[in-house]
C-alpha cells in the first residue's frame, strides 16, 4: 500500500532528520535509505529531497560541507545541527502522540470523560 502524497510530504522532514541523526549523509544515500527502510513502499520523486535539504539548511537545522566521493566527484554532505536535533525530538513527540491516539482508537480504549 503506497502512502498518500500528503503523508509522504509530512513525513519527509522527520525521516531526513532521523537519518542524519545516525550520521552525516548525502542526497542520494538518504533516498536509498528511505527506500530500503520502507521496503520500496515510500517512493519519493528524487528531486523533491534537495529543495527540502536546502530549506533545512536555511532554517539552520542541518549544516552542509563538501567532501569527495570514492570516484573523486565532489559530494555535498549534510550534518544534523543542534537545532535540528531539537526539531526532530519535537516532531517525534508529535508522531508518537498521533500513533498513540490511533492505537487507542483501534483498541477501543477511549476515555470519554
Amino acid at each position: 500500500m503506497t502512502p498518500s502524497k500528503d503523508l509522504v510530504a509530512a513525513s519527509a522532514i522527520p525521516l531526513i532528520l532521523s537519518i542524519l541523526q545516525r550520521g552525516d549523509s548525502y542526497g542520494y544515500a538518504i533516498i536509498q535509505q528511505v527506500r530500503a527502510l520502507s521496503s520500496g513502499e515510500l517512493e519519493w520523486a528524487d528531486g523533491m529531497l534537495y529543495p527540502i535539504l536546502h530549506r533545512l539548511e536555511r532554517r539552520k537545522l542541518v549544516r552542509s560541507y563538501w567532501g569527495e566521493a570514492e570516484n573523486g566527484r565532489k559530494r555535498k554532505y549534510y550534518k544534523l545541527h543542534v537545532a535540528g536535533a531539537k526539531e526532530l525530538a519535537a516532531q517525534r513527540a508529535h508522531w508518537d502522540k498521533l500513533h498513540d491516539m490511533l492505537q487507542q482508537l483501534e483498541g477501543g480504549e477511549l476515555c470519554s470523560s
Partner: protein, 157 residues
C-alpha cells in the same frame, strides 16, 4: 553520438537557468545524477538509457527548478532579477534609452525632493512623495521595456 557529461551539464543548466550562484546546487544534483546513472549502468543500461531513467526519477525539470528557486537567498533573488533585466536590455539593444530614462526620472525625483524640502516642513510628507514617485519610476521603466519588446517582436516577425 551521446555524450553523457555534456547531457548532464545541459540538464543541470536547464534546471538552474535564470539564477545566480547555483554552482553548489548544480554540483550536488550532478552528483546525484551520476550516482543513479552508475546504478542503472550496473544493471546493463546504455549511457543514454541510464541518463533518461535518472532524469525521469528526479521529476519534471520545471517543477524541480521552481522548488529549488524558492530557497534562494535575497541576494540571489536580486542577482537573478538583475541578470534577467540585463539580458532583456541587451537583446533589445536600447541600453542608452534606459540610461536616459533613468537620468530623467532621477532628476525628477531629486527636483521634487528639493522642492518639497523648501515647501513642506514635515519629513513624513517628503517620504510620502518619494514612495509615490519611486513606484512610478519603476512602472514607467516596465512600460518602456514592454513597448520596446513588443516593437522588436513585431520587427522580427
Amino acid at each position: 553520438v551521446f555524450e553523457l557529461d555534456r547531457e548532464v551539464r545541459s540538464w543541470s543548466a536547464a534546471v538552474h537557468a535564470d539564477r545566480c550562484g547555483t554552482g553548489a546546487s548544480a554540483a550536488e544534483l550532478s552528483d546525484h545524477l551520476y550516482c543513479e546513472i552508475d546504478r542503472a549502468r550496473a544493471e546493463g543500461m546504455s549511457d543514454e538509457q541510464a541518463f533518461a531513467a535518472a532524469v525521469a526519477k528526479l521529476g519534471r525539470t520545471e517543477k524541480l527548478s521552481a522548488e529549488l528557486a524558492k530557497n534562494q537567498s535575497p541576494l540571489g533573488v536580486a542577482c537573478a532579477v538583475a541578470a534577467r533585466l540585463d539580458s532583456r536590455d541587451s537583446r533589445v539593444g536600447n541600453r542608452g534609452l534606459f540610461v536616459a530614462h533613468g537620468v530623467v526620472w532621477a532628476s525628477v525625483v531629486i527636483a521634487i525632493a528639493l522642492w518639497s524640502k523648501k515647501t513642506y516642513s514635515s519629513a513624513t510628507s517628503q517620504w510620502l512623495i518619494l514612495t509615490i514617485l519611486i513606484p512610478c519610476w519603476l512602472g514607467s521603466e516596465q512600460i518602456l521595456r514592454r513597448a520596446l519588446r513588443s516593437g522588436s517582436e513585431r520587427g522580427a516577425s
